[in-house]
């Protein structure tokens, strides 16, 4: 379709990339500085076996951070969009499982928040679903991706 080849779509996608990339960078910062607290958040979901909880808490925040940076900056933008879509899908499923299990806790999405500020709820499911759709849009429909740093190349 012509729309997806247009410059308007490139700029729309750039806006969405900055939005989602910014969220992932922001979400990763507290987790990177406090992996011990993030490990408790992961354990609260009671989905992963104990031996995977810590390694997940160590690795996942850095994947979030670098995916966010690459999604915004442009190089490996599709790879970053794939990783973010994968993570969003994983978070989406985890929250649904947590709701089904009746777990009443903070969603741990931004780590520093309490249960009152960001509880696991259907609102979280809807929010994550919207972010999943946005990341899939960038992955599949951003046909002429703009690069933030022109020196790295860009749309001709």
């Amino acid at each position: 379709m012509r729309f997806f080849e247009s410059k308007f779509n490139s700029y729309l996608s750039l806006f969405l990339r900055i939005y989602i990339g910014g969220i992932f960078i922001y979400a990763s910062l507290h987790k990177i500085t406090h992996p011990d607290m993030f490990a408790i958040d992961i354990a609260t979901y009671d989905i992963l076996p104990l031996y995977l909880v810590n390694i997940m808490a160590i690795v996942l925040p850095y994947i979030e951070f670098f995916s966010g940076v690459l999604l915004i900056a442009g190089p490996f933008q599709k790879e970053a969009a794939l990783l973010i879509s994968g993570m969003m899908f994983m978070f989406f499923i985890a929250i649904i499982i947590a709701i089904y299990k009746g777990i009443e806790a903070s969603c741990g999405c931004f780590a520093s928040q309490s249960i009152e500020e960001d509880p696991i709820s259907y609102k979280t499911v809807i929010r994550d679903f919207i972010w999943l759709i946005i990341s899939l849009y960038v992955l599949f429909l951003d046909r002429r991706p703009l690069l933030v740093f022109r020196s790295m190349g860009g749309v001709k």
Binding site: T44, D46, I58, P61, F76, K78, E79, A80, G102, F140
Partner: protein, 157 residues
């Protein structure tokens, strides 16, 4: 669209990125001020909030309890052992725990019985486990939830 070849390259590059970033994260963890071991040595003590017991319920005396019992799901909120020693006819056991919320599957079980009322009786102590469980069930959206004042002590009289 990237085509199949393009998709495979993106997937391959993503995997390489994950491996490089994971390696970097593990290295940083060695010098991190809040570093954690790769494998937790013991299960995390997860904070579980107390059950929400703010639902609206009605208090019943023994006579009201008996008269409504045929149209009701009767729930025994005491421990499994106490329930097995003696329980009211057709009562089901949902042990009330002051620290953990009731399992959603138990609520589904109560709903699936399709009775007019839900009546809970507990240990009759202060606080009464029956009253607390009734409030928690009512909080989950069920209507016509009652509890027997005095709990099991009232039934034993």
């Amino acid at each position: 669209m990237q085509g199949l070849k393009g998709s495979i390259i993106i997937a391959r590059n993503s995997l390489i990125l994950v491996i490089i970033i994971s390696f970097l994260a593990i290295l940083i963890n060695f010098v991190h001020p809040h570093r954690i071991p790769f494998v937790a040595e013991r299960p995390y003590e997860i904070y579980v909030p107390c059950p929400d017991t703010t639902g609206s319920i009605k208090e019943l005396d023994k006579n009201e309890f008996i008269s409504l019992s045929k149209d009701s799901v009767i729930i025994d909120a005491r421990s499994r052992e106490e329930y097995e020693k003696w329980h009211f006819e057709d009562a089901i056991n949902i042990e009330y725990d002051y620290l953990s919320p009731i399992c959603p599957l138990k609520i589904k079980e109560v709903i699936s019985m399709k009775r007019k009322y839900v009546i809970v009786y507990g240990d009759g102590e202060e606080p009464d486990s029956g009253k607390e469980l009734a409030k928690e069930i009512a909080t989950k959206g069920l209507k016509n939830v009652h509890y027997l004042k005095g709990g099991i002590k009232e039934l034993e009289k």
